[in-house]
Symmetry: C2
Subunit: 180 residues, 2 copies
């Protein structure tokens, strides 16, 4: 976790950003939020993060205004990205692209498509089909060639991510099943 503490001496916005999202697990949590994960246990199961750490990260991200806690009914609440959180999308993409380039020998593990026309997105966030600049909400996340099939019975989140679905949309809203 880069710099949760003061880094006031540094005149750099990167340091500021890392104070918020540079801690261990934090960017993975934000990425999962883009993927549609919203509930505590789903984050925990999908990331394999210790629950205490997850609790702390969700708290600090909420305090920072990256996430909001939405009370669904009583104790069942969900975490959603705020516009400030959604603004992290380009950073997330850039880092993921770098990872794909250098650590995904069999191709990207996930690919991003424009929801309108199904064409893949370019690196600069434009649609390779229509050329439009695509907002995060109009992105469809689909499995890529580099995705290894999960062995055994995957968790809710992994299962949901095995089929294309729109970013920021909650995965399997309440219970699994949803028969077509």
């Amino acid at each position: 976790m880069p710099l949760p503490h003061d880094y006031s001496g540094q005149s750099c916005s990167l340091a500021r950003a890392l104070e918020i999202v540079g801690e261990r697990w934090t960017l993975l949590i934000v990425r999962d939020a883009f993927y549609g994960v919203r509930r505590f246990d789903d984050f925990a199961a999908h990331l394999g993060i210790p629950r205490a750490v997850l609790s702390e990260r969700l708290k600090s991200l909420t305090t920072a205004g990256v996430l909001v806690r939405v009370g669904t009914d009583g104790a069942r609440h969900e975490y959603e990205l705020t516009p400030k959180g959604v603004a992290l999308w380009p950073a997330l993409r850039a880092l993921t692209d770098w990872g794909d380039d250098h650590y995904a020998p069999t191709g990207p593990r996930r690919i991003l498509l424009h929801a309108e026309d199904g064409a893949p997105l370019e690196r600069d966030g434009r649609c390779s089909g229509c050329g439009a600049r695509v907002e995060p909400a109009d992105v469809v996340i689909a499995p890529g060639p580099g995705l290894v099939p999960t062995s055994g019975s995957p968790d809710r989140v992994t299962a949901a991510l095995a089929i294309p679905h729109r970013a920021l949309e909650p995965i399997s809203p309440r219970d699994p099943g949803t028969p077509a």
Copy 2:
């Protein structure tokens, strides 16, 4: 420091990327390398990082192929970004832009210009003047409106960054002075 350990279960290139550059201080070191910092003591002084941690990070970044150690003469060597390290530029920019947007009330602390024509860069890496896609080596880093003047006598690096200079070019190669 997100995930220096195994994260093999995760089918995500972001996790892979964070295993390399997600640890505390690592991205700041890479950023400084873009700014032209190359020597151990300059990194240490500019970042305020414990020397033991810096030593370890430089080692792991070198092992990962993000930096190379260039022997200048005997014990005096320098660290340079490899192409793989330079490929982190978009990610660094995206994160810095997010920090500027949300944590720089008086404007960006540094601005990026196209070396060819001096016009500022767009978010997508293009030159606002000529429209060309600008390589990191053709970027000039200049102080922005949000940069607070350093109080007291700054270190070599802070002083060098107070005037515009080209990315990846070493700061004050050997000794200060360099009279025009």
